[in-house]
Amino acid sequence: MATTSHEPTTTRADPEGISGAAVRRGDRTFLGLSTGAGLLVLVVMAAIAVFLVWKAIPSIQADSANFFTEGQWLPDSDPPVFGIAVLLFGTLWTSIIALVIAVPIGYGIALFIAFYAQRRLASTLAFIVDLLAAVPSIIFGLWGLYNFMPYVVPFSQWLSEYLGFIPIFANSQELWTKSILMAGLVLAIMILPTVSAISREVFVQVPRMHVEAALALGATRWEMIRMAVFPFSRPGMISAAMLGLGRALGETIAVALILSAAFEINWAITEPGGNSFAANIALKWGEAGEVGRSALIASGLVLFFITLVVNMSARWVIARRKDFSGAN
């Protein structure tokens, strides 16, 4: 790096250097470089928003339908007809299903590692769960498509047979593969390490004295967790769920492989229905024309905005935690 060239020849603190311009120049250069690097983070975030907006505008102007309420995605037809309604629905619905499954399990894993497993094993167990985060999403998609789906289909059929009176479990199309539930299940597995790692982090921060206070009052282990751990960790747990949600919303390749694109809003989770922002971009990109790409960029902008809001709220919730812990 450029700074090294300012370095005086000897490393000893020579009196000349202390008052010398070289030192101040060195310090100033270094401060400048590192500040610049920090600034770059803000610049990149701003640039993402600016460029996506800029390149999205042409397609939104060309759109003959309402961008927010239209369900069709035909940006390259004449006139272009497209909107994000179905994408928004599919993205949120699959992510919510993933959250409903992954959040309780993720909390359970975190509790297991923090309070139930042998202390010596804890870091190894945490590492094993983190390995799940290391599996590339394309592999989740491949495995989901060829190995997991054959088990999800009978499960979906069971749901619709015994719980079909609840509308979301009903299946009138007799289509079972690549359903919303399938995508939700795979997304749940994918966000599990996120949810469990962050909640584990807050669980192990619960002061030992609160844990002991609860036990000394005659609480069982579970009562101790409810009395001392959950109240203390609530903001972190909420944050963990939201960061998991953020990851599920933006997941692309696995969803592209295991959710069949249906351009309708269909709440029945055992059937295909809806589509996701990210998967739609990945699948439509190759064949899209100029307006088509601009339209996909516009939908990417909406996804960027949604994940931004989710992630910012998650960080905001966990940042408040530091204030309330107070004198303890």
Binding site: R119, A213, A214, A216, P231, N328
Partner: protein
Amino acid sequence: MSKQIDLVDLDIYYGDFLAVEGVNLTVKANSVMSFIGPSGCGKSTVLRSINRMHEVIPGAHVKGAVNLDGENLYGPNVDPVLVRRTIGMVFQRPNPFPTMSIAENVIAGLKLEKDKKRKESMDEIVEKSLRGANLWEEVKDRLKRPGASLSGGQQQRLCIARAIAVEPQVLLMDEPCSALDPISTLAIEDLIRELKDRYTIIIVTHNMQQAGRVSDDTAFFNLSGIGKPGHLIEVGPTAQIFSHPEHKQTEDYIAGRFG
């Protein structure tokens, strides 16, 4: 209501490490006993083994018996949860639950047991327990405020109120004043003298004067070296231990020659 405690040939372990060896000790009902001794001698460990809090640390276990009016706390079928309900504990640093109000802190232990036959309402128990901890007058107008909003000494009395709300027979106190200023310390000491009418109390303290002021009996623990187990050296009426100890070690410690 209060009970006598007998420690019988008690060996206390952390994993394979023998931390305290061969303790035999009797604490009379309705008396206050102090545990004194240099740091690391195992006095807190002994205290924690009396309400089975010791075993909360992974690998920690004991051999021997702790008898509460003759019933071994480590006997088969004994439920540690019930032991801890019967033998309350107050810790070194005040530890009210930070997310609970003053009143919620007091009844935190009681709410675990949904006892429909209880005659008193929760409000009455809150008042009774806070009065019992000499805290009622100071907090009666702000029961809904967080427990952490109190001063250190008040928090410690809140923790005592929380411990006595479940109506234990014995109170264990692990250096309850070491984090407090002198005024708060006096308030706690006054409280201990009042509480002994209703409870058997064991207090671990580093403060010789405090042991002299509050306790009827004193037990002195020591260890012969780093890595060696701690032992009970001597136990007796506080006045006797302080004026005519039988052991040279006790005398040296009390005279401030080590520890």
